[in-house]
């Protein structure tokens, strides 16, 4: 589905700009008209255009001057210069001044069609590049959160990701704060057929209702005080990709109704707008709240819940997959050491035990923060108990913390259970051979229950 191009036609001749605009609209594009450079620039202050068709010969500001100003103030808008037959020099000048292309008046219809297709492709490319840059920028911040885990709980999550990625259905991700819900959403997006489209995330809990409304739906100029420029909402931005609504349990009932309507008939209006827009996105929601409880309390709509919860993925808290704590900690040590240009410090046994037995109220995010700080304050290539600063009171020495051997036994027991005590499969998951596993089972006295 190609989204229409937003085109601005700038020509001082009324018949010309009217007929070009009418033709564009019949072709399924969106067209606005301006009779001169000043009017064009004023319109461009109000909304974004993908493409400007600019007549080169106009009284006042001529087409080349307007082209220069557009390239200065709106570098993302493509400009095509319209020029008369026989004025090759002006076409050359336009191309040198940054025009994407030129058209000789009257245009050859086949040429016009090819040019519009080309502009559509160029715009898509530009959007993809923007998205890629954004993803890279976010990746540098979020790189720490690569999902790591070999616990049966996480293996189940990975399986579910693969399963839902193959579908287009809405997914609800539930899990505690910091457990990595957004990572799961990104992983679903990246494995889906929409991976080449945008991944657009928004935290619904972080803003007021009116702000969230205009963030999601966009707004027209003058829709409210401060709306000096029309803006695309996240729904529009997610066209062709995935929309991720984080903390969906925080949104008001009014917004739930509005979103439900979008999900049901696929179209929506910008705030203050009259023209229905459509966007083709896959919806993924996440929450740390218990939505069925909110529904029972009358705070969340059941119909909306059914819509967003076609599939659900539950991300386990870190304390329920303690065997992943050390691999995660070591991963973060490696990442932050590289950032700081340090040799990765080693985790002392005391530190390991403390990490394993801690309650992790802030989940993986808290572990990441603790390890980032530990790498910075470590010296002598070692991270000990002194370098760890826990959010809650840390475990006291000599507490009931499990030993590493106990942890290993617990881990093996869970893997065996997950594989129904199939030794071959369990050994493969654990990354050891069958004989070694057999020995460990015997030594720990494990048996199927």
């Amino acid at each position: 589905m190609s989204t229409p191009l937003q085109v601005l036609v700038v020509d001082d001749e009324l018949a010309m700009r009217e007929s070009i605009a009418a033709w564009l609209i019949q072709d399924g594009q969106q067209a606005a008209k301006a009779e001169g450079g000043r009017e064009a620039l004023a319109l461009m202050e109000q909304r974004e255009f993908d493409l400007a068709l600019v007549d080169i010969k106009m009284p006042g500001m001529d087409g080349i001057e307007l082209l220069r100003r557009i390239k200065e103030g709106h570098p993302d808008t493509l400009v095509i210069i319209i020029t008369a037959y026989g004025s090759i020099e002006s076409a050359v000048e336009a191309m040198k001044a940054g025009a994407s292309d030129y058209l000789l008046k009257p245009f050859d219809p086949e040429h016009l069609m090819l040019l519009l297709e080309k502009m559509g492709r160029q715009r898509r490319l530009m959007q993809e590049n923007q998205m890629l840059r954004q993803r890279l920028a976010e990746g540098q911040m979020a790189g720490f959160e690569d999902m790591i885990g070999s616990s049966p709980e996480m293996l189940k999550v990975f399986d579910q990701i693969e399963e839902v990625a193959a579908t287009e259905a809405p997914v609800l991700i539930v899990g505690e704060t910091g457990a990595g819900k957004e990572l799961v959403a990104r992983a679903i997006h990246n494995r889906s057929a929409r991976s080449f489209g945008p991944f657009v995330a928004i935290n619904c809990g972080a803003q007021s209702e009116s702000l969230l409304e205009s963030e999601l739906f966009g707004h027209e100029r003058g829709a409210f005080t401060g709306a000096v420029k029309a803006r695309r909402g996240r729904l529009e931005m997610a066209d062709g990709g995935t929309l991720f609504l984080d903390e969906v349990g925080e949104i008001s009932q009014k917004m739930q109704v509005a979103l439900l309507r979008v999900l049901e008939d696929g179209s929506f209006l910008r705030v203050g707008g009259g023209q229905p827009l459509t966007s083709d996105f896959r919806l993924i929601c996440a929450t740390h709240r218990n939505l069925p409880e909110l529904i029972a309390a009358g705070e969340f709509r059941q119909d909306f819940y059914y819509r967003i919860n076609v599939f659900s993925v539950s991300v386990p808290p870190l304390r329920q997959r303690r065997e992943d704590v050390i691999p995660l900690a070591e991963h973060f040590i490696a990442v932050f050491s590289q950032e700081a240009g340090k040799v990765p410090p080693e985790l002392k046994d005391t530190a390991r035990r403390a990490l394993i037995s801690y309650s992790w109220p802030g989940n993986v995010r808290e572990l990441r923060n603790i390890m980032e700080r530990a790498v910075i304050v470590s010296h002598g290539g070692i991270i000990g108990l002194e370098q760890l600063t826990f959010l809650e009171e840390g475990p006291k020495p000599g507490s009931t913390a499990m030993s590493l051997a106990e942890m290993e036994t617990e881990h093996i027991r869970r893997v065996l259970q997950a594989h129904g005590w199939n030794i071959t499969q369990a050994a493969a998951t654990l990354g050891i051979d069958r004989t070694t596993l057999g020995r460990k089972i015997k030594k720990a006295g494990l048996r199927s229950s």
């Binding site: 033709w23 019949q26 072709d27 399924g28 009257p106 050859d108 086949e110 069609m113």
Partner: protein, 191 residues
């Protein structure tokens, strides 16, 4: 896409000056068959001299449309011209229409062109005429261009692209046409 007992919207196919009458009949028959419109060829109008652009030796489609446009509620009109059509910003057009309006116009002038400058066989010319007529009347009903390969609502600037189109609409356009036709019937005054 029958609308039960409701009357089909009417389309008058209007020859403008001397026009191949078989082509006009074929266009009307295809509007009947594919769009289930009540289409008929009416008596010819004089050649639209007021629309001639002397410098270009072509007829301005916009001016012809203004003359053809009927008052709201009457029949839709499709003018057929033997001469070449243009609009101010395009070197030529095969047809032109008011989107969601009352009138369309098409030209037979280029439809007889064959490969390598020869003449196209008669059946090909008639097929092209039917395609252009269906495309333009669908515009008048309110349908925009479609990007689906082969769909009759794809924009075809030249004959090569026109010849690659199917003699019919894609499923999405067919669905839209049903809704647009219902709207036309609702808007029309009782006869």
């Amino acid at each position: 896409m029958t609308a039960g007992g409701a009357p089909s919207p009417q389309v008058e196919v209007v020859p403008l000056g001397r026009v191949n009458s078989t082509a006009a009949q074929v266009v009307a028959a295809n509007l009947q068959a594919l769009l289930e419109l009540d289409a008929m060829v009416v008596g010819p109008w004089p050649e639209p001299a007021q629309a001639l652009v002397p410098a270009r030796g072509q007829y301005d489609a916009g001016i012809i449309l203004q003359d053809l446009a009927t008052p709201q509620g009457g029949a839709l009109r499709l003018g057929i011209l033997g001469k070449d059509l243009c609009v101010p910003f395009l070197t030529y057009v095969l047809g032109e229409s008011q989107l969601g309006g009352r009138a369309a116009v098409m030209s037979l002038h280029r439809l007889s062109e064959g490969e390598g400058g020869g003449r196209a066989p008669r059946h090909l010319m008639l097929e092209r005429a039917a395609k252009v007529g269906l495309h333009e009347i669908a515009h008048v009903m309110g349908l925009e261009h479609c990007r689906t390969a082969g769909c009759l609502m794809r924009f075809s600037a030249g004959l090569a692209t026109l010849d690659r189109l199917n003699m019919g609409f894609c499923p999405a356009c067919r669905r839209d046409l049903i809704h647009l036709k219902i709207q036309l019937i609702v808007k029309a005054p009782a006869r």
